[in-house]
C-alpha cells in the first residue's frame, strides 16, 4: 500500500464511531502510566513493551516524543512521524469560545468528549468593554452551563496561562491544546502545551483527539545563574535575538543543564510562554524538585520527575551562559529584533506595561515594586499594571506590593490580558511608544499601527517608567 494511503487509513479510523464509553475517543494511555512504554494491539487491547528498535537496543526519547508516544498509544515515535494523539486538557478563552461551541454544535455534537477535561476562561476582554463583548461572554456562559463544563473561570479570575498552573490543571507529561498560541507556557511544568485554531479545537472537543507531527527538538543548555536584575525574560529575549524568530519552527524546545534549577517556576513559565515566539510547538523544562514543590502545593499530588531520556536525539544543541547575560529588549516590530538594554537606553516611552501571561506574576510585580518603592514614575509616562490572576492581585495587596505601585503612580487593572493583544485597556495612539513585559511587539498589536512596542523584563520596564526612557535596570538595582 502506498505510504500516503496507509497514513490516510490511520487518520480515517477516527471516522469509525466507537460504540463503547464516550462513543468517539478511542482508548488512551492513562497519564499515570506515562513512565511505561505502551502500545496497542490490532484488537484495541493494550500491552507494555520495552521501547526497542529493530536492532534490539532501547531508543532514547525527548520529552515531546515521550508524550506523543504515550498519548497515541505507541511504544515510540520519531520526529517527522504523524500520530493521532489523545488530548489530556483542552483550553479555550473568550475570544474563541462562543464560536467554538457553535462550531461543535453545528457539527452535530452536543457536548465535549469529556467535559471534565475542558477549561474555559474569560480573560481577554474582561470586564466586557463593549456590548458585543458582553453578549459574547453571555453566550459562552450559556454554552458552558449547557455542556456541563466543570472548569469555568469567569471574568476577573485571571489569564488562562496563569490559572492552568495556579489552579492545578497541569501535570508533567500531559498533552494540552489551547486556542491560544501561548499554550506553550505549560511546558514550564513538563507538559506538552501547544496552540491550535478554533476548527481544530472543535475536532478535539468532539473526539478528544488530534493529529500531530512529532517534532524535532532543539535543546538549550543553561549554565550558571542569573545575576539580578537580569531575569528569565532576558534569557528568552536573548535566545530570540541570537537565534531568530524561526529557530524552533515546527520544533520542540527543551531547556536543560545546571542553570534550570536556578530558575523559579514563575521564571520558567515566562520562558516557555515565549517559546512560541521562536516558532516552537512545545517549550519544555524538565519537571524537577521545584516543579514538584509547586505542583504539590497546587494539586496535593506527589509528582515524579519527568524529563527526556539521557540518550534522546536532538536536532541542535545550544549553550547559554546565564552569568554573562545582560538585560535585553526587543525593538519594534519583531520579537527577535533584540539588543542589550544598554545599547538603546534613552529612548523616551509614553507607556509602560507590566503584566500578561509572560510576566504578570507575583515575583514580577515584586521586582517592579522593589524598583519603584518610595519613588514616582516620570511625568508624561503611564504605568499600567495588570496582575495575571486574582490570587496574585490578592497576594500583591497583602504584601504591600500593590500599594507601592499605586503610590508610584501605576494604574492597576483587573486580572486578565489587559492591553497586550490590542483589545482594550491602554491602547497606543499614533506615534506613541510603549515598553512592556508581554510577548509580542508586532506592528499594530496594541492599537495604532503607527505605535511602537518594546519588550523587556519587569525590572527593565519598571525602571524605564521611573525615568520615562528605556533604562538599564542595573542603574537602580545592583546584583
Amino acid at each position: 500500500m502506498p505510504a500516503a494511503r496507509a497514513a490516510s487509513a490511520r487518520f480515517m479510523h477516527l471516522h469509525q464511531p466507537n460504540t463503547a464509553g464516550d462513543g468517539l475517543s478511542g482508548p488512551a494511555v492513562p497519564l499515570q502510566d506515562i513512565t511505561k512504554d505502551q502500545t496497542e494491539r490490532s484488537d484495541g487491547t493494550r500491552f507494555c513493551i520495552m521501547n526497542l528498535h529493530p536492532g534490539g537496543h532501547r531508543l532514547g526519547m525527548t520529552m515531546a516524543e515521550k508524550i506523543l508516544a504515550r498519548a497515541s498509544g505507541r511504544a515510540n515515535v520519531r520526529p517527522g512521524e504523524h500520530v493521532t494523539a489523545a488530548v489530556d486538557l483542552a483550553l479555550t478563552h473568550d475570544i474563541f469560545a462562543a464560536d467554538l461551541f457553535d462550531l461543535l454544535s453545528d457539527s452535530g455534537f452536543t457536548c465535549p468528549w469529556d467535559a471534565s477535561k475542558v477549561v474555559v476562561v474569560l480573560d481577554h476582554l474582561v470586564p466586557a468593554p463593549t456590548v458585543v463583548a458582553a453578549t459574547v461572554h453571555r453566550r459562552i456562559r450559556e454554552h458552558v452551563r449547557r455542556m456541563g463544563i466543570v472548569h469555568f473561570y469567569d471574568a476577573g479570575a485571571g489569564i488562562c496561562h496563569q490559572l492552568l498552573p495556579e489552579r492545578g490543571h497541569v501535570r508533567p507529561g500531559m498533552l494540552i491544546v489551547g486556542t491560544d498560541s501561548h499554550t506553550t507556557t505549560h511546558g514550564a511544568l513538563g507538559a506538552a502545551g501547544t496552540g491550535i485554531g478554533t476548527s481544530e479545537m472543535a475536532y478535539v472537543l468532539a473526539t478528544g483527539r488530534l493529529w500531530f507531527r512529532v517534532p524535532e527538538t532543539v535543546r538549550f543548555i543553561l549554565h550558571g545563574r542569573l545575576r539580578r536584575p537580569v531575569a528569565a525574560k532576558d534569557v528568552v529575549l536573548s535566545i530570540a535575538g541570537r537565534f531568530g524568530a524561526d529557530v524552533a519552527q515546527y520544533r520542540a524546545i527543551e531547556f536543560a543543564g545546571p542553570g534550570v534549577a536556578e530558575l523559579t517556576v514563575a521564571g520558567r513559565l515566562s520562558v516557555s510562554n515565549m517559546a512560541v515566539e521562536i516558532g516552537a510547538k512545545f517549550g519544555f523544562f524538565p519537571a524537577d524538585a521545584k516543579t514538584a514543590t509547586y505542583l504539590q502545593a497546587r494539586t496535593g499530588a506527589v509528582v515524579a520527575p519527568f524529563g527526556p531520556d539521557p540518550d534522546a536525539t536532538y536536532a541542535a544543541t545550544h549553550e547559554i551562559d546565564l552569568d554573562a547575560l545582560a538585560p535585553q529588549v526587543a525593538l519594534p516590530h519583531t520579537v527577535d529584533n533584540v539588543r542589550p538594554v544598554s545599547e538603546v537606553a534613552g529612548i523616551a516611552v509614553d507607556q509602560a506595561f507590566i503584566g500578561s501571561c509572560t510576566n504578570g506574576r507575583l515575583e514580577d510585580l515584586e521586582q517592579a515594586a522593589e524598583i519603584l518603592r518610595g519613588r514616582h514614575i516620570s511625568t508624561g509616562t503611564r504605568l499600567v499594571v495588570v496582575p495575571a490572576s486574582a490570587e496574585i492581585l490578592r497576594e500583591a495587596e497583602r504584601c504591600g506590593v500593590l500599594a507601592t505601585l499605586v503610590d508610584a503612580g501605576a494604574i492597576i487593572l483587573p486580572p486578565g490580558c489587559g492591553p497586550c493583544f490590542g483589545g482594550h485597556q491602554g491602547l497606543l495612539g499614533p506615534g506613541e511608544r510603549c515598553i512592556g513585559t508581554h510577548n509580542r511587539n508586532f506592528q499594530g498589536r496594541m492599537g495604532s499601527p503607527e505605535a511602537e512596542i518594546y519588550l523587556g523584563s519587569p525590572a527593565t520596564v519598571a525602571v524605564s517608567a521611573l525615568f520615562g526612557r528605556i533604562t538599564d535596570p542595573r542603574r537602580v538595582l545592583v546584583a
Binding site: 505510504a3 500516503a4 494511503r5 497514513a7 490516510s8 487518520f11 477516527l14 471516522h15 464511531p17 462513543g23 468517539l24 504523524h82 475570544i95 474563541f96 462550531l103 453545528d106 457539527s107 452535530g108 455534537f109 481577554h124 476582554l125 463593549t130 458585543v132 463583548a133 459574547v136 489551547g178 486556542t179 491560544d180 498560541s181 499554550t183 496552540g195 491550535i196 485554531g197 478554533t198 476548527s199 481544530e200 472543535a202 475536532y203 468532539a206 473526539t207 493529529w211 507531527r213 524568530a245 524561526d246 519552527q249 515546527y250 512560541v276 516558532g279 510547538k281 519583531t334 493583544f421 490590542g422 483589545g423 509580542r440 508586532f442 506592528q443 499594530g444 498589536r445 492599537g447 499601527p449
Partner: protein, 166 residues
C-alpha cells in the same frame, strides 16, 4: 488534487497574525475583518485581491496568534493559496483546517514578482511562474493535510463523523 493558477500578490518576511487579522476586529464580522487584511503593510491587497489570486510570502508567515481569522480572512478574499518561504506552525495548521491551501516553497520570493501568473501543482508539488517559466518544488502536504483539504476543512471531516454518530 489539482492545479491552482492565480495572479500573485507578494509580501515579505514575518507577516504576523496581527497584520492579517488585527486584534481590534476580534469580534467583528468576517465582511469587516477581511477589509483590514494586511492594511498596514499592503493597503491595496484587501481592496483589489480577486478570487483565485495567490499570496506569495517570505519567512515565518502567520507568526503569532492562534486566531483562525488570519487564514479565514484570506479565504474570504478569495485567495486560492498561500505559498511561503516558511510558515509559522499554527497558521499552517489553521489554513489547512479551514480548507485554505498553504504550501512551503523555499526560494519562491526570488522567482516571482507581484502580478505574475503562478501555477501551483498540488499533484506534482511544484510551482511555476508562467511569465518566466521558472519552477520550484514545494514541500509535499502530509496525508492528513491532503485529506482535510479534500474535505474542504476539518469541520467537514467532523460533520461527517457527527452525522454518522447520530
Amino acid at each position: 488534487m489539482r492545479v491552482i493558477n492565480g495572479r500573485v500578490w507578494k509580501v515579505g518576511d514575518s507577516i504576523s497574525t496581527d497584520l492579517l487579522s488585527p486584534g481590534a476586529y476580534a469580534y467583528a464580522p468576517l465582511e469587516v475583518r477581511r477589509q483590514h487584511v494586511l492594511e498596514t503593510v499592503h493597503p491595496r491587497f484587501a481592496r483589489e485581491a480577486r478570487p483565485g489570486d495567490v499570496l506569495v510570502a517570505g519567512r515565518n508567515f502567520g507568526c503569532g496568534s492562534s486566531r483562525e481569522s488570519a487564514p479565514e480572512n484570506l479565504k474570504a478574499l478569495g485567495i486560492a493559496a498561500v505559498v511561503a518561504e516558511s510558515f509559522a506552525r499554527i497558521f499552517l495548521r489553521n489554513a489547512i483546517a479551514i480548507g485554505l491551501v498553504a504550501v512551503t516553497c523555499p526560494g519562491i520570493g526570488a522567482i516571482v514578482e507581484e502580478g505574475d501568473p503562478l501555477d501551483l501543482d498540488l499533484e506534482a508539488f511544484s510551482v511555476t511562474n508562467v511569465r518566466t517559466g521558472a519552477s520550484l518544488p514545494v514541500h509535499p502536504l502530509s496525508s492528513e493535510m491532503r485529506e482535510i483539504l479534500e474535505h474542504g476543512g476539518i469541520l467537514a471531516v467532523l460533520k461527517a463523523l457527527g452525522s454518522r454518530s447520530r
